[in-house]
């Protein structure tokens, strides 16, 4: 009936009496508004009902002292850092959203949802049955250490956001780093050499996450060597309590050499810059490479 791209409703399977009773029970701790919106949605499929349903379900799982934050309507709120939602709570939310909206969300899709807006946009696309908006891929510290050979205490990336033409990483300087005891006693300053190391690690992460376009071959994480770094400038002291934002952009990737441009900043202030970070790499030896 509605042929325009901006549809305002979708068709949903109507609730059986049995399902209605179950859903009433599942939503009993949600607000009146959320419950109303949920049943209205299952009758009409009106998309404008999604925000109150989704926010209401998230709210139901938050500890009472966190709930007012949600009411402020800031879509950039982070689920983990700002709302204290751990992975188990996230699963509780997902199960209830799935039941309420009658859809299924797989784990891979979930991993990319970090903010309230991510959730809203993702579910909106999902229910319209269109591809979700392309976002940078996000990786936490576990995913990073699973992908590259570096590990704590010599891993200087805590989060990475990856797109096709750059990688942005962060590293909060905790002050507990062993080397800060000597660099310098009573005056801890994050060493510039370690900032270059962090950029190198980010370049390694970028490389192992990209595929060779023709064959789909992947880079072997154990065969990457940091071979050079030119034109380096450091502009600022970085100290415990600050978070480094690291960015690398590939300049050329041609087997066996990859070159990147890198920069480090703290809250928008430039801290260090490297024009040419060079690493050598090799493809992972795999049977399907030969095909």
């Amino acid at each position: 009936m509605n042929s325009s791209l901006e549809i305002d409703s979708v068709s949903v399977a109507p609730l059986t009496d049995d399902e209605r009773g179950d859903l009433e029970d599942s939503l009993k701790r949600c607000s009146e508004e959320t419950r109303f919106a949920a049943f209205e949605f299952r009758e009409t499929g009106r998309l404008s009902l999604l925000p109150p349903i989704i926010l209401g379900i998230i709210e139901r799982f938050l500890e009472p002292e966190i709930r007012p934050k949600l009411k402020e309507g800031d879509g950039s709120l982070k689920l983990i850092d700002d709302l204290g939602i751990d992975s188990l709570t996230m699963m509780e939310i997902v199960v209830l959203v799935e039941e309420t909206l009658d859809l299924s969300i797989d784990n891979e899709e979930l991993r990319q949802l970090r903010t309230l807006d991510d959730v809203r946009e993702f579910l909106d696309a999902k229910i319209r049955n269109v591809p979700p908006p392309q976002k940078n891929k996000y990786f936490g510290v576990e995913a990073i250490s699973a992908a590259i050979p570096h590990h704590i205490p010599f891993l200087f990336l805590s989060e990475v956001e990856l797109s096709s033409d750059e990688a942005i990483g962060t590293y909060p300087i905790s002050g507990l780093e062993e080397f800060l005891k000597g660099h310098f006693p009573e005056n801890p300053v994050f060493p510039a050499s370690i900032m270059l190391e962090a950029l190198g690690q980010l370049a390694v992460f970028f490389l192992v996450s990209t595929e060779k376009s023709e064959t789909g071959a992947k880079v072997d994480p154990t065969k990457i060597l940091f071979t050079g770094c030119e034109a380096v400038r450091c502009q600022r002291f970085c100290v415990p309590g600050e978070t480094l934002t690291l960015t690398i952009k590939p300049k050329s990737i041609r087997h066996p050499i990859a070159k990147f441009e890198g920069k480090v900043s703290v809250q928008g202030e430039n801290a260090a810059w490297a024009e040419d970070i060079t690493v050598t790499f090799d493809w992972r030896e795999a049977v399907d490479n030969l095909a």
Binding site: D22, E63, L88, T89, E92, V95, E98, S104
Partner: protein, 420 residues
């Protein structure tokens, strides 16, 4: 080798949710049985249960539960609880206060926690039911950790931030006896300075009624006489639930913290019947050996035991086999006082051994020996034993606490008074 002291107790059980109430009910032989409403249906031939009071944990959703206002819980704590975890958690808070433990005494590598529970049949069942109805991916993500037999350990170890040894025991009605025994060994052998031991069970339709099939429960509808261990006309046990915590500490820790121990645990023994999956050996073979082992490991002779808190659940075979075993161990030279407090508390399965050990400690601390209640006619086989039927005001020096579980698992624990 360290001496091992009991420094803290916590109780959520059918005869009270705090030490003072439990002591008073034990002294006055007041039981915790009632006609439990969910059992008053034609489906259920069993009518009486020894229920936990002041907690309403019937709902499948822990956020619906009500409990005494002394306790508070965040949603993220409650969401992985089943009913017995709630009881146990509250008992552990009591035991921590009783032992005057501070946070750093609890969360360190020298402090461990052993548990005993059978898990939650009710929650397992409801989760599986949801899985079959709604699909595998629509299960509550917490359903496994909230219901399987390890749930007590998972919840307590994480919430109390335990960093030492932790494990759970599953030998049915001897489970918490094993948990205490092995916790004792941890401290005795200087592997841990302090051990929490927690036993707990649900007490609801799903935890009680399955025992009907094996004809182990009494079908009596009179709460006042339903449980009568050692009585000639005993008909079966009354099911119970709750949570009990005991704190065991090394002598060094007791001295360092400057606390007065409630009693000393001097040893324990265990042995198995190797006989039947559910029924105890007719001569009480395993339990006899367990008692003899506990005496030997404690370097005591039978005459030194002043009181035996018997396992005697009020079943025809169980009570008889224990009576025969006690005769072998004690007669003719020794004549300890004997009673079964299950006449008052009901039988809490994994809870029972730790509840009776904690009761034994209360006897040492408060100076009394509870009588074996509800005996109208003593079973003739027990006439040569000193089964006491009313409470005596004296402090026993050594107490033995027995337990027997399915498959013929038996434990016997010995505690000593710290008063001279």
């Amino acid at each position: 080798m360290s001496r091992v002291f009991v420094t803290g107790l916590g109780f959520i059980c059918s005869i009270g949710n705090d030490e003072a109430t439990v002591v008073s009910n034990l002294r006055e032989l007041k039981h915790g049985m009632e006609l439990y409403p969910p059992l008053q249906t034609p489906d259920s031939p069993v009518k009486v249960a020894a229920t936990v009071k002041d907690f309403d944990v019937e709902s499948l959703d822990p956020e619906d539960w009500t409990f005494p206002s002394d306790y508070t819980f965040r949603r993220e704590t409650l969401r992985s609880f089943s009913p017995h975890v709630m009881y146990a958690y509250c008992s552990m808070q009591q035991a921590i206060a009783d032992a005057s433990l501070r946070e750093k005494d609890i969360s360190n590598q020298d402090t461990g926690l052993y548990t005993a529970s059978a898990g939650s049949s009710r929650f397992l069942h409801s989760n599986l039911e949801r899985m079959y109805k709604k699909g595998v991916m629509r299960c509550n993500p917490l359903s496994i950790v909230a219901s399987i037999a390890g749930t007590l350990s998972f919840n307590l170890v994480s919430n109390f931030k335990i960093q030492g040894s932790s494990s759970g025991f599953a030998s049915a009605c001897a489970s918490s006896g094993h948990a205490i025994g092995f916790a004792f060994d941890e401290v005795r052998m200087d592997r841990q300075k302090r051990m929490f031991v927690v036993g707990a069970e649900d007490c609801n339709f799903d935890s009680i009624v399955p025992f009907c099939g094996m004809r182990a429960l009494t079908l009596s509808d009179d709460p006042d006489t339903a449980a009568r261990p050692f009585d000639k006309n005993r008909q079966g046990f009354v099911s119970s639930g709750g949570g009990v915590t005991i704190v065991l500490e090394s002598e060094e820790e007791v001295d360092r913290r400057g606390v007065v121990p409630l009693g000393e645990m001097v040893g324990w023994g265990q042995a198995s019947d190797g006989f039947n999956v559910a029924v105890s050996h007719p001569d009480g073979r395993g339990l006899r050996t367990a008692m003899q082992n506990s005496l030997q490991y404690s370097a005591l002779n039978p005459r030194q035991i002043c009181y035996v808190n018997a396992h005697a659940p009020s079943t025809s075979i169980g009570d008889l086999s224990e009576v025969l075993a006690m005769k072998e161990v004690f007669l003719p030279d020794a004549s300890p006082m004997i009673s079964s407090t299950k006449a008052l508390t009901g039988h809490g399965l994994s809870l029972s051994s730790i509840l009776e050990s904690a009761i034994s400690i209360l006897c040492l601390k408060h100076g009394f020996v509870p009588g074996s209640a509800h005996i109208q006619e003593l079973m003739p086989e027990a006439e040569s034993l000193n089964i006491i039927q009313s409470t005596l005001n004296e402090t026993p020096k050594f107490i033995m606490s027995n337990s027997s579980g399915f498959g013929g698992a038996n434990t016997s624990l010995i505690f000593r008074s710290c008063q001279n």
